[in-house]
């Protein structure tokens, strides 16, 4: 279980996260929704240890991550898998090398075993072995996302993080990615955090939903509860209404 307690973060005097409290229950998918630029990715980067909070705690299975540093923190992160917004595939490595990278770096598995695991993940993502030798630049947006998901899953993480997993994808491909998230979650049973503004598609994978607005969680509950939430800000966001103040 991941517990975020009173998390505060400011950049150049501007408070982006203003006392976030959130629990990610074990084995469930928690979805954080909110407008672009509201701090969803900043929240995710705090939990995976890429950013340090100004104050507050992030507790993963009873371990306060703010008390870990350097090598200890890095080793702790081996339990995590992260799907970055743009995929973050390594330009200089082909698809096979990208997916095999965490295994080659962090395990002493023989190459045959690594090859077997990579091909299993490729098949799981509905990718053929023909893509193995392609460089990331030669892949479509959807393929990149699936390869990145295969890489994030290769070490069988206990906790998965998805940062805007379908941004920039066409609707059928977005549905494919959400379907893959649901399928891998069902197979592996990982705890997950999905950060997205793709409403209502993201609700199909959500066990619980939290809405981030002006640095705070303003609503939390099941997808159905959020869709029927009385807060006008939540309703306005779900209905995709034009924000006249911002427009």
């Amino acid at each position: 279980m991941v517990k975020i307690i009173n998390l505060v973060k400011s950049f150049s005097g501007h408070k982006v996260l203003d006392g976030i409290n959130l629990t990610m229950p074990l084995g469930q998918i928690t979805v954080v929704i909110g407008k672009s630029g509201v701090g969803k990715s900043v929240l995710l980067k705090h939990i995976v240890g890429l950013l340090k909070p100004d104050s507050g705690q992030i507790i993963v299975d009873g371990q306060d991550m703010s008390l870990l540093g350097g090598r200890q923190l890095r080793e702790f992160k081996r339990r995590f898998g992260v799907l970055f917004q743009g995929g973050a595939l390594f330009d200089s490595l082909n698809v096979f090398e990208n997916i095999a990278f965490p295994l080659r770096e962090k395990t002493r598995l023989p190459e045959a075993e690594i090859g077997q695991r990579v091909r299993f993940r490729l098949a799981q993502m509905n990718l053929t072995s023909e893509v193995e030798t392609k460089l990331p630049d030669e892949l479509s947006g959807g393929m990149k996302k699936r390869v990145a998901l295969a890489r994030a899953m290769i070490q069988e993480p206990e906790i998965m993080f998805f940062d805007e997993p379908v941004t920039g994808l066409d609707p059928p491909m977005a549905n494919t990615v959400f379907h893959l998230i649901a399928k891998t979650h069902q197979e592996s049973g990982y705890t997950a955090l999905v950060v997205s503004h793709d409403i209502p598609e993201v609700f199909q994978v959500a066990d619980q939903v939290a809405m981030l607005h002006q640095g705070r969680i303003i609503a939390a509950g099941t997808a159905e509860e959020i869709q029927n939430h009385p807060d006008p800000v939540v309703q306005s966001f779900i209905r995709g209404e034009v924000d006249f103040l911002e427009a």
Binding site: V82, A88, Q155
Partner: protein, 256 residues
């Protein structure tokens, strides 16, 4: 007036802060060379990227520098009837000064800018973050091999620059202008002492480390977007060239 002083003070503080940041970055990067995994393969890859790929441009620069120096030196020495000292003049200038400095500037323009752009793009496309979340230290995987490669490759490139420059000087001085081949090489052998060669090697080591340090640091701390990478690349070329010249003065004053 007060505003001007305030701005000047802020600028000075920024420079000191950046210099301190660079030193910490250097120490962290180099100390990771002593911690497993040692990554010799990555170091070799970087020697290829920074060193081997810069060889042609360094050879071209060295050849033309040697040729120009022979041409200039010949007409100056001729006024005093000392054309025979042409070899020693070309070799000393190249080994002590021109070789390390021009190699440094060429490496900064070719490899330094490429290193900043590569790391900068890795930063803005979250590849460095991805390494971190895979429990791989980005400083050890990306930066440390480049720093070591800079220290290894730049002295070797400088040696190539010196040899090609001396041959370029031979082509102009001996083949085209008729200086005796024997006096060209004999003068060189008489006047170049080990201290000159050692001085050149020390300079090239320091320049190599400085250029790649600046390139890695600027790339690692690049601003957002394509504009950030472009700005960082530009700063790398300018700052590393200025630092090469500044270090050259400091080191020359030690060796003189």
């Amino acid at each position: 007036m007060a505003n001007l002083v305030r701005q000047l003070g802020q600028r000075s503080l920024n420079i000191v802060q950046e210099a301190g940041g660079m030193m910490i970055f250097l120490l962290e990067g180099l100390s990771l060379a002593l911690v497993p995994p040692f990554r010799p393969r990555r170091v070799l890859e970087e020697i290829y990227q920074i060193g081997v790929k810069s060889t042609l441009i360094v050879m071209l620069t060295g050849a033309f520098t040697g040729m120009v120096m022979a041409l200039q030196g010949y007409y100056t020495l001729k006024q005093y009837g000392s054309e025979g000292a042409l070899g020693s003049a070309v070799a000393l200038s190249l080994i002590r000064e021109m070789g390390p400095v021009l190699t440094g500037i060429m490496v900064s323009a070719r490899a330094g800018s490429a290193v900043t752009a590569e790391i900068g793009i890795m930063r803005i496309t979250e590849q460095l973050d991805a390494l971190d979340t895979m429990a791989v230290n980005p400083l050890q995987y990306v930066v440390m091999p480049k720093l070591l490669a800079g220290v290894i490759a730049v002295p070797l490139l400088t040696a190539i620059f010196d040899v090609v420059g001396i041959l370029g000087g031979y082509l102009v001085g001996v083949v085209l202008l008729g200086v005796s081949s024997g006096s060209y090489f004999a003068g060189m052998a008489r006047s170049v002492v080990p201290l000159d060669i050692n001085g050149g090697i020390v300079k090239s080591l320091v320049f190599g480390l400085t250029i790649i340090l600046v390139a890695c640091y600027k790339g690692y701390h690049t601003g957002p977007g394509a504009e950030g990478v472009s700005k960082a690349t530009n700063q790398t070329v300018v700052l590393s060239a200025v630092l090469v010249l500044a270090w050259d003065y400091v080191l020359t004053s030690f060796f003189m």
